[in-house]
């Protein structure tokens, strides 16, 4: 009886906490958005600037996610399967973006690619615009979303061990065949999970991109930056509408993760 009570108690605390911290604000955003019906929200979402902002967010995500997927797999393989000097350092550095504030990342990129930065001068002379343009925004997004694939794949790689890979080698498979036919299928659920987390992080990125983009409306303004811009322009309906769309995407990601999790456990 006591066990049931304490379990119910724990459950109540967990649910209350989630309600206050997460669900409450989200519900308020929903309510405010559709307060005056669907039409204002739809109008806010279909302005050219907002459409451009979403397009830009999708373009950045479409570049950053594949790059970090490949990088994450390579890093995970290096950490689990190889022995080399500086492995501990690599392992620690992968987590850096989780610990570092995105604003700091943005400032660091500013120092590197600004007019007086290390690479900025040279790149300027050759007519390559990095800051206040797509390249810096992609770099910033890649940086902040870098750890997720590697962090998901590393434990799975450890768990499956390398015997299956050795077996494949003795059966005549070269390194590439072994990777495609044995390693990749074995880590697929962890990889998909990592890719989903990376995607979510890319879509929601604000801080680093805010610093390096220059926030030029209709040019370097992403969806999250657009929310802030609308809010500051006292267009609350617009800000809420864009927020809702971002929140819907996040919920979609959550649902996808819940669908995948059980499969991962039974695999």
């Amino acid at each position: 009886m006591k066990g049931v009570l304490s379990r119910l108690g724990l459950r109540t605390i967990a649910l209350l906490y989630l309600a206050v911290i997460l669900v409450g604000p989200l519900a308020v955003v929903f309510w405010r958005t559709f307060e005056d019906g669907v039409a204002p929200a739809w109008d806010a979402l279909t302005t050219p600037e907002t459409i451009h902002a979403f397009k830009l967010t999708l373009i950045i995500t479409a570049i950053a996610v594949p790059v970090n997927t490949v990088f994450g797999i390579v890093c995970a393989l290096a950490i689990v399967r190889k022995r080399f000097r500086g492995k501990g350092l690599l392992n620690a550095f992968i987590d850096l973006p989780l610990a570092l504030s995105p604003v700091v990342v943005g400032l660091a990129l500013f120092l590197l690619y600004g007019e007086n930065g290390w690479f900025g001068g040279w790149l300027n002379e050759h007519g390559i615009q990095v800051l206040f343009a797509l390249p810096s925004m992609v770099i910033a997004t890649i940086f902040v979303s870098l750890p997720f694939v590697a962090r998901e794949v590393v434990p799975t790689l450890r768990e499956i061990g390398d015997e299956q890979e050795q077996a494949a080698r003795t059966l005549g498979a070269n390194g590439w065949q072994t990777f495609w036919r044995i390693t990749l299928p074995s880590i697929r659920w962890a990889l998909i999970y990592g890719v989903i987390l990376t995607t979510a992080r890319c879509l929601g990125e604000y801080g680093a991109v805010a610093v390096v983009s220059g926030r030029l409306q209709g040019q370097t303004e992403t969806a999250t930056l657009r929310v802030q811009e609308r809010y500051e322009a006292f267009d609350l309906a617009g800000a809420y509408a864009i927020s809702i769309l971002l929140a819907l995407v996040a919920i979609l990601v959550l649902v996808a993760m819940t669908v995948i999790r059980p499969k991962e456990e039974t695999a």
Binding site: Q164, R169, T170, L171, G172, N174, Q177, I182
Partner: protein
Amino acid sequence: MSILVRNVSKRFGEFVALDDISLDVESGALTALLGPSGSGKSTLLRIIAGLEEADNGEILLGGKDATALAPQKRNVGFVFQHYAAFKHMTVRDNIAFGLKVRKRPKAEIAERVDELLNLVQLQSFGHRYPAQLSGGQRQRMGLARALAPEPQVLLLDEPFGALDARVRAELREWLRQLHDVVHVTTVFVTHDQDEAMEISDQIAVINHGRLEQVGSPRELYDEPASEFVMTFVGDAQPLGDSLVRPHDIELLHEPAERTVEAMIVRVTFLGRDAKVELHDTSGAEILVLMTRDQFDESGFWRGQTVWAQPHRERVFAEAG
């Protein structure tokens, strides 16, 4: 296809896994690498397969230098103790793997897989996943998978080590029969001397990374080259200055040449054998095996003082 191991050494940090090993494996034979755990026998097998690199020495497969060859180019079949089954593939796909990566025609692959499923008696299990098989079935699948690309050499690393005693005995017998059919040069690693004695043509005994002796089961038993081989292959105990096997001790009623005085403390009947336990005058235990008939005819009784005479006893320089 013969296997020649030439002066192979391997260290893991400070630990010497293999110390200057040279070994000839006859073509077509079933050879056991026998030794206690940590003796280096698995390391030697992995070096032959190319899964581990030797620090020194050479590996020749079929007379050709394979020392620097990647494992996928050696054309060896390898069977792992813990099966190393491809978990995301069916039994059929597991067995077909070696043929698929060699880009063999589909019809040929299907035919060969059927043939192997028959050989390892898994005909009705082709569409199952490894997780749905018992340990013995998984290991048979592992064998079929290793044999599918028709390797020149079959290497088995403690293949029955993870199975229970009954399945182990079954599979052991079955491997011997399989070898008589397939005739591929086979090397298997084991720490179980019964397993090695029962099925191999040739046994290489390895201890502390060194090759102690190579020979037929009978040679190892009758002519052990060292104290280690004598005690590891079959039972042996010290009697006087020598080592002797329990059934090579004769019990006499009277003192005679080379006898040791001892008292019978216990007699156990093990089916057709009688196990006689004695204490010598210093209290050290002596174990003697004889047939029940021999014991009955001798008229010995518990508590009686007798004289133990060793036969075929051996004295080793390193002993002591």
